[in-house]
Amino acid sequence: MSETQSQLVADVEKLAHTQVNDCYQCGKCTAGCPRGDVMDIGPTRLIRLVQTGEVLEAARAESVWQCVSCLTCSTRCPKSVNISGVIDALRQISVEKRISAKRFNKTVLFQKEFLRNIRRNGRTNELELVVAWKLLGLASDLNPLAALRDAQLGPKMFFRHKLHFMPGSPVKDKAVVRRIFDRCMAERKSETEE
């Protein structure tokens, strides 16, 4: 393993608060994963890649973004490896290194937009978010029809008084939220803030 590789492994372990070498590749995470059957690289193999220093290859995997963060894997792991945490770490690394799986550009952009939304408002403004999402969908060279499909939900929700233009009670001290974001993001080189 090269030094860069071991550095990356250490980074993953630190972010996920776990030891990847504890994993003995039993496959229980893949077995219980609700997305296991559609993933390109299942959780067991993601951990294996990290074990062997191939963090970047793992971070490129589509499965990193297919994960629904349901924690089934970590909960049932016989070695108490925080698999879900490792996947979160891989997400963070893939974003920072701009190597996330192409097919999930949308998802990544959405997550970023979600955070930007919170940074701006302190709480999520759903309408802003859905609009941004739809714009992203249209702009990201994906099937525009697919994006339009959910657009139907918009009016439906609005009709049921579910969708608001503003959060129920706006955050007063928005500056502090920004400062919290800046402090957390400062330490790591991150491209989330343009």
Binding site: Y24, Q25, C26, G27, K28, C29, T30, A31, G32, C33, G36, D37, I41, G42, T44, R45, T72, R76, C77, P78, K79, S80
Partner: protein, 671 residues
Amino acid sequence: MAKIGVFTCWCGENIARHIDVERVSKAIESLPGVHCSMNYKYMCSEPGQSLIIDQIKSLGLTGVVVASCSPHMHLKTFRAAAQLAGVNPYMVEMANIREQCSWVHADKEEATAKAIELIRISVEKLRHNRPLQPISVPITKKALVIGGGVAGIQAALDIAAAGHEVILVEKEPSVGGKMAGLSETFPTLDCSQCILTPRMVEVNQHPKIRLMTYSEVEKVEGYIGNFSVTIRQKARYVDVNKCTGCGTCWNGCPNKRIPNSFDFNLGNRTAIYIPFPQAVPARPVIDSSRCIHFKNGKCGICEKNCAAGAINFNDEDKLITEEVGAVVVATGYQLYSIGKEQSNPNLSGYGEYGYGKYKDVIDSLQFERLISASGPTGGEPKRPSDGRVPQKIVFIQCVGSRDNAKGVSYCSKICCMYTAKHTMLYKHKVHDGEAHVFYMDIRSGGKKYDEFVRRAIEQDGALYHRGRVSKITEEEIDGVRKLVVRGADTLTGKPVTVEADMVVLACAMAPTDGATALAQKLSVGYDEYGFLSESHPKLRPVETNSAGVFLCGACQGPKDIPESVAQASAAAAKVLVMFSQDHLTREPEIAHVDESLCAACCACVQACPYEAISIEEIVDRKGNHVKNTSRVNPGLCMGCGTCVAVCPSKSIDLEGFTEEEVYAEIESLLS
């Protein structure tokens, strides 16, 4: 006046390369008490030893210091040599100038200087040493074997075969242990009961063996060669001497639907019962918690039917005390519980496998009963929920084993083998059935073992998936209840879902529940899981640190039948070595009390790890109380010296490491 000879060894080049041996010899000559100082190439060799013997004889030496290797290597050798020349063996000291000097210090000057000091320490100690006489303890040549499984049976038979009396205590109503419940055994597929039952009968009939079933060890006192054991013989309510084992009672008992624990509750038994047809002794027991007579005083059908008049509803537990010289512990194992109930608070169950919730999820010992000819289904694999013959069985290995999060960290060693056996036995009975195995690694080291596993895969077509199972749910599919097993195959990297009729969990092997309590009674150590500790993992595998107590079988760690039997014979051999003499010689390096000075504050009594110290009353000739004092039982003391450290008045001292000797050692270092 001490006349000490110092013999410095070159150990070939080992010592001489880094230590100037000649200079050492010279420097030692002038030390007080040293009468001669010599060196030789190999002190431990025959001529080396002769040199020592000659010098003792010609110079009339009273003590010997050998400066050579670690005392753990050759102290015994040199003590024996000194004894040959008429010097008390405890007047021999060693200075470790090899392992702790020449081998670890490169600078010859420094090493030589240190060697001189090390020898000086030993000389000073020796000047204060006292000759000691080995302690002789008489031996009761009778052994107690605890546990009547295959290991206990083997140990009992071996000891008895040498002509010594044996008491074999078994807590269940019959001997046989777990092996009696198995169907066939790997890797030969011979019938377990066919090979075991002759041995069971033999222990019952052997004139030298007293078999005490339905009994437990209550208390152990005494020490090696002289244990006093109290055994609780539980009320059986059947007079075994009158009973003929005819079976009229259990056949006539109206209370027929009691889950049989021998079948792991898959089958039923009556309130008066023998656990299985080949039980030894073939004498029934009344389960008083279920018997109608004990509930309302009625029924009594068995009593009426018994022609021998053997039923005794007024039977009571009996306490029997026996004197024995050695104890063999063979309490065996149980399966790690996969349900919510755990005997060990560090463990938690496997909720995701639904054991206890889904009837057709069973453990491996239950499966053994299901395919055993003497089992509740007569050997036909029928699933517990509806009696259907399963067309597809999933076997899951490493349930509880190698699972730090919920179970135990160790490998249970036998599951790979018996799971392969299970798939074969199943396929032999249900030819078109499917056997799926989820495993992590196949561990099949042993004679004909790996061939056996391959046979299951290659010839009998068991389908092995390398991966653990995450969840089992029960679903009705096409009108049949199925267990949906969600596992993974890490070799393909994909999840695998199997809709099975039955699931068999290969649960971890764990020590029996009472094992640690028994270990405490015997002062035997045990690990975090409750497996009893052997004295040395390689060189003393059947001894314990409690002298006179030996181990065999799965109470010491996961083990298969051949290993258990081999270990049982080894334990028996150790007992026989002990019994080959009338007296036991023990190292005299034990604690002793200056009773005139002891204030009986009891600190040592509390501190002793072996309960070897007690408070005794001293009386004068007329029987008047003079004082109390602590006293060491030389049979129990192992010589750790903890008592010395806690004694405020130092009225207790440890032979071989007395206060005087140790202070002399330290003072020799005065600069």
